[in-house]
């Protein structure tokens, strides 16, 4: 179990290094926006105790079945402990207030640059209208009086014609059913 952990830590540290050097290129030791806030939390969590207690509880589970409840409880405690990261005990890179502010500025600047480079799919307006250079020019254009007049005449005549549509039936449209 310890062996597995050491191998895991080794891999984790390699991954960290890769991430540091990947994009920014320069200064892999210098903290940047890609540096993890918690350096390798697995190493510092109380998870190391896991192996011993796991074995114990397994033994008990077989020999003393009536202590199932207690086992379940202790397993809960263990799982909680495993998922806990003791931040205070870790050797973290602490930030001075000024440095913190500087970073905010640098990161928001970079974010802004990236944002401008991104092709925003939502920008392309969906709908009937297209974006015009001058709203005043188009809004102040007069109505087409001709269109309104044509449409008025058209709808009046069409409505009149529609109301004249009738069915030329040669047989009875309503057929009486033989209801006993």
């Amino acid at each position: 179990m310890d062996y597995v952990h050491s191998v895991w830590n080794y891999f984790a540290s390699i991954c960290n290094c890769w991430q540091c050097t990947e994009d920014t290129g320069a200064q892999p030791n210098e903290p940047n926006e890609r540096t993890h806030l918690l350096v390798d939390p697995v190493n510092h969590s109380p998870a190391l105790r896991r192996s011993n207690s796991d074995g114990l509880s397994n033994d008990y589970a077989h020999s003393l079945p009536k202590k199932d409840d207690q086992n379940a409880l202790s397993r809960l405690v263990q799982n909680t402990a495993i998922n806990m990261i003791n931040v205070g005990a870790m050797d973290c890179h602490s930030l001075e207030h000024q440095e913190y502010k500087d970073r905010i500025r640098v990161y928001s600047q970079r974010l802004h640059q990236q944002w401008n480079n991104v092709q925003h799919p939502s920008v392309s307006m969906k709908g009937l209208l297209k974006d015009v250079p001058s709203h005043q020019f188009y809004l102040s254009k007069p109505l087409s009086v001709e269109d309104t007049a044509q449409m008025k005449l058209f709808t009046e005549k069409a409505l009149d014609s529609v109301s004249h549509i009738r069915i030329d039936h040669k047989e009875a449209v309503v057929v009486p059913f033989r209801i006993p």
Partner: protein, 98 residues
């Protein structure tokens, strides 16, 4: 008879700059279409007219809607029982006449 309605459509479609015209019923189904206009336009035409009808529900005058795109215009009007759609396009003749 519907021949009368067809004649009305033909008259309108023959007007200057008019590309095509159609009349739809309350369900948005095309009754007659004349000229270069897809009868399937009746559905969306009615939907547009119905949406605009919500703008001033108390108005006694039915609104005439006009969409302008380049030298083309689409005129839509709904007066309760029918929806009429006319497609218009500015021809070279009328453009030079301006």
């Amino acid at each position: 008879m519907e021949t009368q309605l067809e004649k009305v459509l033909m008259d309108t479609a023959a007007r200057p700059d008019t590309v095509g015209a159609l009349v739809a019923n309350r369900q948005g189904l095309c009754l007659v279409a004349k000229g270069d206009i897809d009868p399937n336009v009746s559905g969306i035409g009615m939907a547009i007219a119905q949406q605009v009808a919500k703008l001033e529900p108390n108005s006694t005058v039915p609104a005439t809607i006009c969409l302008y795109s380049g030298n083309k215009r689409c005129v839509i009007k709904n007066d309760g029982r029918i929806t009429a759609v006319i497609f218009k396009q500015l021809t070279a003749n009328s453009a030079t006449g301006n």
